[in-house]
Symmetry: C2
Subunit: 331 residues, 2 copies
């Protein structure tokens, strides 16, 4: 049985939606530790249906770290917060992974402080799965490192390659490096040197540079970039797709024929919206720390939380952290 | 009468579509110099309708610079190419601006070599108008500088502010700096220092940082970033929107009700697609060189070319280059 610690107080809809998500995901093969203020958690649990509740443990943590708090300071000052406690449960071996929809920076800081980096690794990277049509794409780094050196990009590539193999069951995943032209001579100094480094690694299936347009076009299995570019791209993609879906909806509420047309298309469009909705996939993984750490979108509802727990449980079963450790040690 | 030099050989559909676009745009207030291989241009002109032909001059240029050629080398070796000749016509005062849908890098190199930077400016920047719903957004730099310093971002902000005033008639345009968080302490070293610089300039209506999601949300009039991030974002946006429009089309060709629904929605969706299509707007402007230089998308058809010529003519009438020069000189 996999045991995951879930920050019940993290996210825009915590604790209710987080708790209900846990109740959906928990079961004979997954025990969920709900970490947070006991009273609020139990109140939310009272509204949960199904048998999931039997596989939930409540772990009291009085403090909460808000979205606005300065991460490192908050983690140092609020050792008893739900988010820090979740990471500690992993550090103490009581849980196999920690999941939070709270303050991302604080979760990264808590993971670095309480779990630590893998031996031999310079920089953990935040990796997510883009719901690209056809098949999902692994994208790293989406915001853990706003300033990187070429070696860090190489580390991201190696870790995300293992992630794609283990979690998405992608054999020999191809790796693309984000640049402003396909040719190896295109890009800034960081990318030129990272390209050279990646091309020299026999264990990597390095495709070469990919451009902005290729990120969502299934050109490669894994897309690697620095945390500044990755974060900007991720938020831009989310915003572009929701804007367009809104506009399509508007188009379908105009004239009477358009409204009829929209009604006839509704189900298909909503399926499509789900297929491109990052919330359906299950959070971002901080690769390179000594434990499984998953950060969910702040606006996660119960379904997103349940999905993240499901993916995280699979990552534990596949021993993602162990495989990452081996690859990192071999670099 | 405004005179513009158009590279008739640049673009995926040159010379035909370029020539036909010129024939649409040319008229009593705009003379177009079609620069390229005379025979091909005249053949394409024979197919043009309307009275635009009377306002077109053909200027023979035997060489063509291809998309794959190394920009600086190509510009040096092919002084008689259509693209270089168009820039030279501006340098010689025979045209007020040069427009090309050819090799962007070569156009930038030709502009730098034959027109030169504005006095006092460190780095010209490539600026485009994003067709964001509501009102368009100015976005700079979309690829002229893959490596920049904070001062360069400040220059981009000042130039794009003038551009928004002159070409989009936006009063006191607000300026956003792309970062990975709204707070002034979020970002990499480049952005932190650029933020400080921009905030210290009384002539700029500096809003502060904007995130990836804000780029297309009309949060500010002008979005400033380095040419690496800008180029990746621009291509990602184009690709995300065309992918989604494709998927909506697919949804509308499934079951019989979906097909009927799609047919009823068709016109509205195609209007919407046009509204988010960068090709409708009219190219990217290289701000900071001593002359008006516009680069169009390689896949520009006649409508995109005509639109770019229209915008460029307006920029000439508004004396965009003169206003930019004044602002740059005052920095």
């Amino acid at each position: 049985m996999v045991v995951l610690a879930l920050d019940a107080m993290g996210g825009d809809f915590a604790p209710e939606e987080v708790v209900l998500g846990a109740a959906v995901a928990a079961g004979p093969s997954l025990k969920v530790q709900l970490v947070g203020r006991r009273a609020g958690i139990e109140e939310a649990l009272a509204g949960a249906k199904g048998s999931g509740r039997d596989f939930i443990e409540v772990i009291d943590a009085p403090d909460v770290i808000g979205f606005d708090e300065e991460p490192v300071k908050a983690v140092r000052l609020k050792g008893g917060s739900s988010l820090v406690t979740a990471c500690r449960l992993v550090a103490e071996g009581r849980a196999s992974g920690a999941v939070s929809a709270g303050n991302t920076g604080a979760m990264l800081a808590a993971a670095l402080i309480h779990l630590g980096r893998m031996k031999g690794l310079k920089r953990p990277g935040l990796c997510t799965v883009l719901p690209t049509p056809g098949k999902p794409t692994v994208f790293i780094d989406v915001g853990a490192n706003s300033e990187v050196r070429p070696l860090h990009l190489l580390e991201f590539a190696n870790m995300a390659s293992i992630f794609a193999e283990n979690v998405l069951e992608r054999a020999n995943p191809s790796i693309g490096l984000v640049s402003i032209g396909e040719e190896s001579v295109k890009g800034n100094e960081l990318v030129l040197e990272a390209h050279r480094l990646m091309a020299s690694q026999p264990q990597l299936n390095f495709y070469g540079n990919v451009e902005g347009r290729d990120i969502i076009r299934n050109v490669v299995d894994v897309v690697v970039t620095d945390g500044f570019t990755g974060n900007v791209c991720l938020k831009l993609m989310e915003s572009t797709s929701s804007l367009i879906v809104e506009e399509v909806k508007k188009a379908a509420t105009g004239s009477v024929p358009a409204r009829i047309g929209g009604a006839l298309l509704k189900r298909r469009l909503s399926n499509f919206k789900k297929s491109i909705d990052a919330k359906e996939i299950g959070g971002a993984y901080l690769l390179g720390v000594r434990g499984l750490v998953v950060v969910c979108h702040g606006n996660s509802g119960r379904r997103a939380i349940a999905s993240a727990l499901g993916y995280a449980a699979r990552a534990v079963q596949q021993d993602l952290v162990g495989s990452l450790g081996e690859r990192v040690a071999s670099l």
